[in-house]
């Protein structure tokens, strides 16, 4: 059976990413371990995106609170505002917005970095210098992204809740104590854990797509821009798809 053009391309790409992920796994488990470079990447990846993810988290919390407020008042449940907002932040907005910002910031920079290293033969130069570039460049970055996004996302949730607290206090008064009580009266372990788990997958997807796009960059400097760009687009789409899967799974398990 002949598959039409775009379909074939899609399947080819999917296969290639799967193979790339396969070799990532092989290289991750077999020695030599690039611990130093991994720690360096964690620092760079985590530190670089912290301000941006923090800021967007803060704004989301604040805006969401202010927008929900009139509706909540009209239903006469204004007191439930912190609970409502915190639930949406922790379960959905925090992880997804952090992941999208992370994809834009880190996915593109990984794609561009590895892409330019590919077209200027730096990756080949590493290879002949006794360094497996798959281990040194790819494994370290993917693991760092996988580990850093959950941490960033938890930080972002916290900052978001602070934004929400300020949002509540613009029009009325609520003590920190009461706010926190309200939040934790509704938030369960089954809300927090799945949302943290899914960010590991988001981080992994962003890392692997960025590395894949960069590692197989072609066509000189033009290709580098393309790698960076398509890394962001593809990983953002994958984040949404994973999010959809995650909600199905928690639903099946009865955690929704």
């Amino acid at each position: 059976m002949k598959i039409p053009g775009p379909g074939e391309e899609f399947l080819n790409e999917t296969g290639a990413i799967a193979r790339f992920t396969g070799s990532f796994v092989r290289e991750t488990v077999s020695p030599r371990y690039e611990i130093k470079e991994f720690i360096r990447q964690c620092y760079l990846i985590g530190y670089k995106s912290l301000p941006l993810i923090g800021l967007t988290g803060f704004i989301m919390g604040l805006v969401l609170t202010m927008q929900l407020r009139p509706t909540m008042i009209s239903y006469g449940v204004e007191a439930k505002l912190p609970a409502m907002v915190s639930l949406s932040i922790v379960r959905e907005i925090g992880p997804v917005i952090s992941a999208l910002i992370f994809a834009g910031k880190i996915g593109s920079s990984i794609g561009a970095q590895l892409g330019s290293m590919r077209v200027t033969e730096q990756i080949d130069a590493m290879d002949v210098s006794g360094t497996n570039p798959m281990k040194f460049l790819v494994v370290t970055r993917v693991l760092a992204a996988t580990l850093m996004l959950p941490i960033l996302s938890i930080l972002s949730d916290t900052i978001s809740l602070y934004g929400s607290f300020l949002g509540v206090n613009i029009r009325s008064h609520m003590s920190v104590h009461l706010f926190i009580n309200q939040v934790f009266s509704i938030l369960n372990f089954t809300d927090i854990l799945p949302s943290i788990i899914k960010t590991f997958f988001f981080g992994f997807a962003i890392g692997i797509v960025g590395c894949y796009k960069g590692y197989y960059s072609k066509n000189g400097t033009e290709g580098v821009g393309h790698s960076a760009n398509s890394a962001v687009v593809l990983s953002s789409v994958i984040v949404f798809i994973l999010d959809l899967l995650a909600v199905q799974i928690t639903d099946l398990l009865g955690y929704n």
């Binding site: 330019s116 200027t120 033969e121 730096q122 080949d124 130069a125 590493m126 002949v128 210098s129 006794g130």
Partner: protein, 257 residues
């Protein structure tokens, strides 16, 4: 080989033992047959320049020799062992003894010159002391006349200087064989000449053998003991520069015009 001559200026060809023997090397990408039964023998102390048109497969040839590309078939014997069957670990051991100068220099642009030179050393010689590492860096940089750039970033240097740093990085492991991919391309004639002279100096100082890829006839003349012409995936002719220059073969002649 269409042209055979008994007279060579550098007797390394006659006296030296073979360090690289390539036989019946084949490599194709899809339907594009780049190398088709290519044969070449490099002897100890000898330098061979490979001539060929752009896209003839010169870079592919030396990338197969260093193991960056996998040959489809044929034998590539480097320092007594066929590398086509090597695993990653065996390749690494071979690459300590064989240096490679990239066409685009391939300096790590996020690292200083010192870190660039340190990288292959740290990786290959894991237990080298900090003092010896520093000494080697300075020695390699002095060889190329750029000891003062040690703390600069690659982007701060001109193209010719970057090429020399790349050469220093190749030299740092004291390789027995060096493969040069177009060492003078993209440089002005004067800088190109400097690099060619440097290659010859290094050759003499460290007794390395080398395969040099070039279109630059001045560089070819300066550096070559023998010249091989790569055409249609085969070694079309191999001889000294002087003999090839006098060749009647029209395909060979076009390179010398």
């Amino acid at each position: 080989m269409d042209i055979v001559s008994a007279k060579y200026q550098n007797t390394a060809y006659q006296t030296g033992e073979p360090v690289i023997t390539i036989s019946k090397l084949k490599k194709q990408f899809g339907k594009n047959k780049v190398l088709d039964e290519f044969d070449l023998t490099l002897h100890k102390g000898e330098s061979i320049v490979v001539l060929g048109r752009s896209g003839a497969g010169k870079s592919v040839l030396i990338k197969c020799v260093i193991g960056l590309m996998q040959a489809d078939s044929g034998i590539i014997d480097v320092l007594g062992k066929d590398i086509t069957t090597f695993n990653h670990h065996e390749l690494d051991k071979m690459r300590m003894r064989v240096g490679f100068l990239f066409q685009s220099n391939a300096l790590y642009d996020s690292m200083t010159i010192r870190e660039n030179l340190e990288f292959p050393m740290r990786r290959h010689l894991t237990n080298i002391s900090a003092k010896e590492s520093e000494e080697r860096i300075i020695e390699a940089l002095t060889n190329v006349g750029l000891a003062h750039t040690v703390d600069m970033m690659p982007a701060e240097l001109s193209g010719g200087m970057q090429k020399r740093i790349a050469l220093a990085r190749t030299l740092i492991l004291k390789p027995e064989i060096i493969l040069y991919d177009e060492p003078t391309t993209g440089l002005d004639p004067i800088t190109g000449k400097e690099i060619s002279t440097l290659i010859v100096e290094i050759q003499e100082k460290y007794q390395t053998s080398s395969i040099i890829i070039s279109h630059d006839m001045k560089c070819v003349k300066t550096t070559a003991d023998r010249v091989a012409v790569l055409l249609n995936g085969k070694c079309h002719a191999i001889d000294t520069y002087d003999m090839l220059e006098k060749s009647e073969d029209t395909l060979v002649k076009q390179f010398f015009e």
